[in-house]
């Protein structure tokens, strides 16, 4: 197939592979759009602005636990009307909400990065390994999981990312694994509690081989047993280990386990690690990941050949995600002139803020609209993450709310713009039709010009 002209390719590089062109970005990419992306692949995601100030997941868990103890002490003091302890009497300081900080940091990263392709890969993988802050224990550590377990590996090995995620407190809490006891484990035998299959099931169904890989209910149950003991250290004497991953032998179901036809004789933590490594290298995993990547970057129903190509690269390289990203960039079908992907609310709003050049701290506040448009950060409705096809985001009410949002943003930033007309080229390059440039030029006001640009089909599809 023939590729579109260079100016259109540059716009595709910034808007389809990247997360929305900032002023000057399309010009920068236009010399060599593929090379522009490959240089980002080599460099990896940018460091998060101010990321060093954010707590580690262990610190976040310690803080959240301390806050909970304080709240409890206050509540008890209120109930009993007893003389409150010194702790409960401490003035209620403005609450530091780690989740809010994490969302803002993630927003700054997206708004400021000059490596937008790896940033999009962070979004993709964070959604692949979705957790939700609607579970209270996850709230403090969802952002930390993305920073600690996803971001370092998006261009590394899939297996390393999988192991980092399944060891992470956010995923353990989200899928209840800290509650799961092997029925024949020391604590299991002494307790009425028992096995929880949640983590084992979702790893197989969503994170690795996929639902149609032919595994059975028995495989899920056995894998869940192999994962028993994978928990978070909250022992009083944990010291510096408090809030980190803990393998607890007392909770672990002893004995060898057979999963998808293979027997795992290992003892302890190594057993589930071995299963995860096999799952990561399974051909069905290669196919599952390739299908999701192709759907994200190419089309809601991607061509089989593209999925095959990505799956082969994944399998041949043992899940080397740099090789997979390079293969994706090399696929001509990913550079099709007619865009097939409707932006999700997050993509839509981030790309608008980047394109309009809104100052970062103001834009961080405007990113809160992502929740209003239906995609609250770290709060996908299920472990499957946010959906990734146009029909999931293009219902009439959703389309209409975007227009209302576009109109409001126009009122906020439009009046200050000198030449709204130049935005069309800066944001969409060769992707904009002449009719759009005309409409923006003839807009009744700067506010309306911005509204039309953000509402336009060219800006909604990538």
């Amino acid at each position: 197939m023939s590729l579109p002209d260079a100016r259109t390719q540059a716009a595709i590089a910034t808007n389809r592979f990247g997360i929305g062109a900032r002023p000057g970005e399309i010009a920068e990419a236009s010399g060599d759009p593929r090379g522009w992306l490959l240089r980002q692949v080599a460099a990896g995601p940018s460091p998060i602005p101010g990321g060093a100030r954010l707590p580690t997941s262990a610190e976040a868990i310690a803080r959240a636990d301390a806050q909970a103890r304080l709240d409890e002490a206050r509540a008890r003091a209120r109930e009993t009307k007893a003389e409150p302890t010194a702790m409960a009497k401490a003035p209620a300081a403005p609450r530091y909400d780690i989740y809010t900080e994490e969302v803002a940091a993630r927003g700054r990263s997206a708004l400021e990065t000059d490596r937008p392709f790896p940033e999009r890969l962070v979004w993709f993988w964070s959604n692949h390994f979705s957790v939700s802050v609607d579970k209270a224990a996850v709230r403090a550590v969802a952002g930390a999981m993305e920073r600690e377990a996803i971001r370092p590996h998006v261009l590394g090995r899939f297996e390393d990312m999988l192991l980092a995620v399944i060891h992470h407190p956010a995923m353990i809490f989200y899928l209840d694994n800290q509650l799961s006891l092997g029925p024949a484990s020391p604590r299991g035998e002494a307790s009425r509690r028992g096995l929880n299959e949640n983590l084992g099931r979702e790893v197989m169904e969503l994170h690795t081989v996929g639902v149609s890989a032919g595994y059975t209910q028995a495989d899920v149950t056995t894998f869940a047993k192999a994962l028993t003991g994978w928990t978070v250290d909250r022992r009083e004497d944990a010291g510096r280990r408090f809030g980190t991953f803990l393998f607890s032998p007392d909770m672990h179901e002893p004995g060898p386990k057979t999963i998808m036809g293979r027997t795992y004789p290992q003892e302890g933590e190594d057993q589930a690690v071995a299963v995860l490594q096999d799952l990561a290298r399974h051909p069905a995993t290669a196919r599952h990941i390739a299908g999701k990547l192709a759907r994200h970057f190419i089309a809601d129903r991607p061509p089989e050949a593209a999925v095959d190509a990505l799956a082969h690269t994944f399998l041949d390289t043992g899940g080397d995600l740099t090789a997979v990203a390079r293969r994706l960039v090399a696929l001509d079908v990913a550079w099709s002139e007619s865009p097939d992907k409707l932006k999700s609310p997050n993509e839509y709003i981030v790309s608008a803020m980047r394109g309009l050049g809104v100052e970062t701290e103001e834009a961080v506040i405007m990113l809160r609209s992502v929740s209003m448009l239906g995609q609250r950060p770290f709060a996908a409705p299920s472990p499957a993450g946010w959906p990734d096809t146009a029909q999931d985001w293009a219902a009439p009410s959703a389309v209409y709310q975007r227009l209302e949002w576009a109109a409001r943003v126009g009122q906020q930033v439009g009046p200050g713009l000198r030449q709204p007309g130049s935005l069309v080229g800066e944001m969409l390059g060769g992707q904009a039709r002449p009719t759009l440039a005309d409409a923006v030029d003839r807009a009744a006001s700067g506010a309306q010009a911005v509204a039309l640009l953000l509402a336009s089909p060219e800006f909604q599809w990538r």
Partner: protein
Amino acid sequence: MPTRRHILGAMAALPLAGLSFPTLSWSAPAGDARFMVLILRGAMDGLAAVPPLADPGLARLRAPLVPGRPGSEGGALDLDGSFALHPALGSLHALYRQGDLAVIHACASPYRERSHFSGQDALENGTATEAGAHDGWLGRALGPGRPVDGDRAVALGETVPLILQGGSGVTSWSPSILPQADTDTLQRIARLYERDPQLSAALSAALEANQVASADGDGKARPGAGPAARFISLMQAAGRFMATPGGPRVAVADLGGWDTHAGQNGKLGRQFDMLGAGIDALRKSLGEAWRSTAVLVVTEFGRTAAVNGTAGTDHGTAGVAFLLGGAVAGGRVIADWPGLAAGQLHEGRDLRPTIDLRAVAKGVLSHHMKITRATLDEVVFPGSGSVSPLPDLVRT
């Protein structure tokens, strides 16, 4: 299987229900029927919603999850002496007593795995597997030449769910907290969409829906409203849409939060409160149209019969569906009870399905929505000829 089916409790409930349901005078003229599907996403625990208190297996398998006896403080709400409703389902209990609620127990879609996502896809696409169809059974039931066309259907929420896909012209509505865009800007946007069929169809559908939804109230949600307030406003809007003369006759909404793997007693209590409040809101906003309405409340599958290790339940098989509304021949529990004894469970762990959910849907679609048997067997639920519509679900 239909020959084995019998109806439990119908007789027991009649004396009560009979007082308040003048069957004949309530029959709705054809073409006036309203049908709504409410999808409970995450797998509602049917044995918690409608505990079969008469089955000794219940207490043996899940004692910590079983509510007190009917009549005790905070106890279950008796239905027919055998089955009861969860204590937090008072609104549904009132409907049952006035004959407007039928409970269908031990039922399931033909899907037999335990994945939420595939299970919901199968529930909505009307087949046994997630890949069985690319559109939804309710969407396929609508269209030109059918009693109800696709443009008489509305999805409450940001998206048109799979169940309604395939019915062209389906609209959707959800409350907005944004200021309205001005007319001139909207007209210019509409011109930009002339060459984009998907966005232009969405925009015109949204504009029409806004007119209906804002007939009273401005269609705006309050910022910061929680999930309960949001669900209630969606159900209110559903009622308003279906009560509008010449407006939508089919609606779909959903409610998540049912995946109760741990600590389910508290969580389910709040879920049931929310469900009841939403249904009350729907009934009020339907007004007179309640009489010609049937609402099918379904979930992707049930949960394990036994309590798990974390005071919750895991993914199971058969569960409960509710059919409610003024058009429903209610006041009874419909079940072919499979039992909870060890040998009676599906795969040794789940309530065994004895009623096919498609039979329930087909019963409503054929007798209430007047869709022909051939269409139901071949198009709506492809290859379901052997699954007969459940009879007598609606008052005729």
